[in-house]
């Protein structure tokens, strides 16, 4: 199955009640799949008139306690920033997937990781965070849909699945099953005690992000920050490969983590002790792991399909305990193992004899 289809089917299996979206390459497979599958399941599919509308429709479904989802690619995600900020302000659950393409502007439709800042640093207005999950395989596209709805409902906050056109289009075998990891617990999808269900036998409820009273918005922000701190303490997920004895640590997510994994093997075959840190959550970021382990490495190399975005979070975590450098390409080119192996050797300052 292709990654985009796996994500769509994963969302359906995870109980997605409603999907809203607007076409954009390279993720059209998702709305197309949803248009056929959601009605089969008796669920809601609407092709919206824009991404502004799609994210607002998600909000409309979310206020009534439904599991709602939208997907898009970079330019469309830019339009969704308005609604994402409102979802965060109103504390509403939602799942948003960004199948990232090259930018800025209309860019191109090649795989890219250049929306990292937008995803993890805010993107819209106000002090907020999204959970940002980075799948690296077709199976993870499927599995992470479950995880995303878990987190969205556990924290009542939007969750972004940040992937790219390569993973979206890639064909790999897929096991349809309810994944056990990574998941967030405990989570309840029963929204009756908070959602808008009609004010029958209870006082009316409202969702709002406008707080005009003296100090009220400050208190609201403090509450949000406390939630983010709780999430950051419990929900960080990452994978490490051969880091125990490594001199060189590669840090990469998504598609680049796959390339780096292979590079680790190639480097080790040459006697260079390399390891990999692959964040599964880009927010919250595995800052604590990096801070604790940074000193053991001679060099940390961050690899992205961008001009260098996640590298800033790595630098923040490492706090100059170890030299951190960046390698990446943006605008369509893929970093290959061969290329990366050479870069790693050069960054370590090793003069190869043969």
């Amino acid at each position: 199955m292709a990654g985009n289809h796996a994500l769509a089917e994963g969302a359906i299996q995870a109980g997605c009640d409603a999907y809203f979206g607007y076409p954009i390459t390279p993720q059209n497979e998702i709305p197309e799949y949803m248009a056929a599958r959601m009605p089969e399941e008796g669920r809601v599919f609407v092709q919206s008139e824009s991404e502004l509308a799609a994210i607002s429709m998600v909000m409309g479904a979310a206020v009534t306690g439904k599991r709602a989802m939208t997907t898009s690619s970079s330019p469309g995600i830019s339009l969704m920033q308005e609604g994402i900020s409102y979802l965060c302000g109103c504390e509403l659950p939602a799942v948003i997937a960004n199948v990232v393409r090259g930018g800025p502007g209309l860019g191109n439709i090649a795989a890219a990781q250049s929306d990292y800042f937008q995803a993890v640093k805010g993107g819209g207005h106000g002090d907020y965070h999204l959970f940002v999950l980075a799948p690296a395989s077709v199976q993870e596209m499927f599995d992470f849909a479950f995880w995303a709805f878990d987190l969205a409902f556990k924290y009542r906050n939007p969750v972004m699945i940040l992937t790219d056109g390569l993973i979206g289009q890639m064909m790999e075998p897929l096991t349809i099953r309810e994944p056990s990891w990574p998941r967030a617990t405990p989570v309840s999808f029963d929204a009756r005690d908070w959602a808008l269900t009609g004010a029958a036998g209870r006082p009316p409820r409202s969702f709002k992000s406008l707080f005009l009273g003296d100090g009220v918005l400050e208190a609201h922000n403090a509450k949000l920050q406390a939630k983010y701190a709780r999430a950051a303490a419990t929900e960080v997920r990452y994978e490490t490969v051969a880091t125990e004895d490594a001199q060189l640590l590669l840090v990469a997510y998504g598609i680049m983590a796959r390339v780096c994994r292979e590079t680790v093997d190639r480097l080790r075959a040459r006697g260079i002790k390399a390891g990999l840190l692959r964040p599964l959550t880009l927010w919250p970021f595995p800052t604590a792991w990096l801070a604790a382990h940074a000193a053991q490495f001679a060099h940390i190399l961050v690899v992205e399909l961008s001009c260098g975005q996640m590298v800033e979070d790595v630098q923040l975590a490492v706090q100059a305990r170890t030299p951190v450098s960046f390698y990446g390409r943006a605008g369509g080119g893929i970093v290959t193992c061969q290329e990366l192996t050479a870069v790693a050797i050069e960054r370590l300052g090793i003069k190869e004899t043969s």
């Binding site: 409603a18 609407v46 004010a199 409202s206």
Partner: protein, 250 residues
């Protein structure tokens, strides 16, 4: 008791200026909700505009929406909850300017929602700037010399526009300045809800409303302006009802 305020309206004072049309519109909607006995099934979407705090005044479930996006939020609500009665309440900046895309497409999809559109010919909340509905010659803070068609375009006739769309089952324009007009407006609001209950299609009621503070006049002068200046540009009537042809009121 001959008249008691509707149960669907919270017994609180609003933040609206004296003589503001929003108060009448709120009350009428709530009276209709009480009369139809649907308060516990209503889900409403408040706009960004002077009516942003409507959720503090209505005694039913309400959500905020980003500026102009109420019809999209309502779409998500109604599609997921077809047993509920969903309405949006929007000003003319919200609906006709920043939310033009959302209202046209929700109407065109024939979303089973009711839309109450408050046309007060300016942006009240932000201090009386020009709206798409501002009258020609009308002075606002961003059309200080008066609106000129060549420069700022013409007053936008939303109901006439939406009437053209096949998804629209009910479209009417009413005014809120005299007892007779207010009674007509209430009937139209009633029909807008019934249209939704009958799943006939999208329903919109445009309500010409006074904004004395935005217009810089007294409440009495403001209702005179509704009669003398707004109605000639924005004719009242039922423009569309189910499949019946456009007919003006008797």
């Amino acid at each position: 008791m001959k008249y008691q305020p509707p149960h669907a309206l919270q017994p609180v004072s609003t933040h609206y200026c004296a003589g503001c049309g929003h108060g009448v519109a709120h009350r009428l909607i709530c009276e209709v909700i009480d009369e139809l006995g649907i308060r516990e099934r209503v889900l409403a979407v408040a706009p960004v505009g002077c009516a942003v705090l409507a959720y503090d005044y209505w005694n039913f479930d309400v959500t905020e929406a980003a500026h102009g996006r109420a019809p999209a939020v309502a779409t998500g609500m109604k599609r997921c909850n077809p047993d509920k009665l969903v309405f949006t309440y929007q000003g003319d900046g919200d609906l006709a300017a920043i939310g033009a895309g959302e209202i046209v497409n929700a109407a065109n999809r024939g979303e089973l929602i009711s839309v109450f559109f408050i046309n007060n010919a300016n942006y009240g909340m932000t201090g009386g700037q020009m709206a798409p509905t501002t009258l020609l010659g009308q002075k606002t803070t961003t059309s200080p010399a008066g609106r000129v068609a060549r420069r700022e375009g013409w007053p936008m006739k939303v109901v006439e526009m939406l009437t053209q769309l096949d998804g629209v089952a009910f479209a009417a324009r009413c005014a809120l300045h005299t007892p007779k007009h207010i009674r007509d407006a209430k009937r139209a609001i009633h029909t807008a809800f019934v249209t939704q209950m009958q799943e006939a299609g999208f329903a919109i009621v445009e309500l010409l409303a006074a904004c004395p503070v935005g217009w810089g006049v007294t409440p009495i002068q403001a209702i005179e302006l509704v009669e003398q200046q707004m109605i000639p540009v924005y004719p009242l009537g039922v423009f569309k009802q189910a499949s019946s042809p456009v007919s003006l009121p008797s």
